[in-house]
Symmetry: C2
Subunit: 147 residues, 2 copies
């Protein structure tokens, strides 16, 4: 079973468990969030769905993303410029590498964060609950294009 199908099932099940109705619009939004290819924005999701759902309202996308976020099944990545991107495939905190040219977001494999977390906790006396780590740079595709 592919990873994104598993995520799809998990999110749908959680919606059912919380007595939310399963509408075609909701299904389609969950489908995209379960994959979260490229970490889409609300606008991205809306654009992807307009073909299949010509009457889809932008508000519906916002509402459902918010609902799924409130259940902890999507990670919201807000940026200083006000843009928000979403990750329903890995809804827990994890590092991101973001291309400042094309907006591409990649998930690197990093392990040493857990040590850091404990280091911070003991140094500051905070009870650490979550974190956010983003690296910003230029991807290899955009580096080539530059000339």
């Amino acid at each position: 079973m592919p990873d994104s199908s598993k995520r799809f099932e998990t999110i749908i099940q959680k919606l059912r468990d919380n007595n939310h109705k399963i509408t075609p619009q909701r299904l389609a939004i969950v489908e995209i969030l379960a994959k979260s290819i490229g970490h889409p924005s609300v606008e991205d999701i809306y654009t992807q769905l307009k073909d299949d759902f010509p009457t889809m309202s932008l508000a519906t996308v916002y509402r459902n993303v918010l609902l799924i976020k409130s259940m902890g099944e999507v990670l919201e990545l807000g940026f200083p410029d006000g843009s928000n991107r979403y990750d329903g495939n890995k809804p827990y905190p994890h590092p991101h590498v973001i291309c400042i040219k094309c907006g591409k977001i990649v998930d690197p494999d990093l392990e040493s964060l857990d040590e850091m977390r404990e280091e911070v906790a003991s140094e500051t006396n905070f009870k650490i609950i979550s974190h956010r780590l983003d690296f910003f740079g230029v991807c290899s595709d955009c580096s080539k294009k530059k000339q």
Copy 2:
């Protein structure tokens, strides 16, 4: 010479170098940013200045923070809820520990980030330019209050 005085001089000098006029409002805003006690928001800065400058416009605070940010002399910390906090004392990327109860922001000392940066660069083929690392949790003051 205290750290914040040094920061104050640096920012003012950079303003002069870029042919910006030194107004009383600007001086006062730079003074607060140079300290950046608690990583203030624009609203925080505005509130602090209203006593000394009763006619101070909120737009003036926004304008000057933006100007100083464009010169690279203040770090903007934007959060998913839309709030922005500023650090003119350490305007370069560095980790933050944020209390989700009272909003307090603390700077921990962490060294291992540079290794991580190189690890990410070699793994993703990105040219890493900047980063952002926030830990979220509950500070010891708020932990005590809870009961």
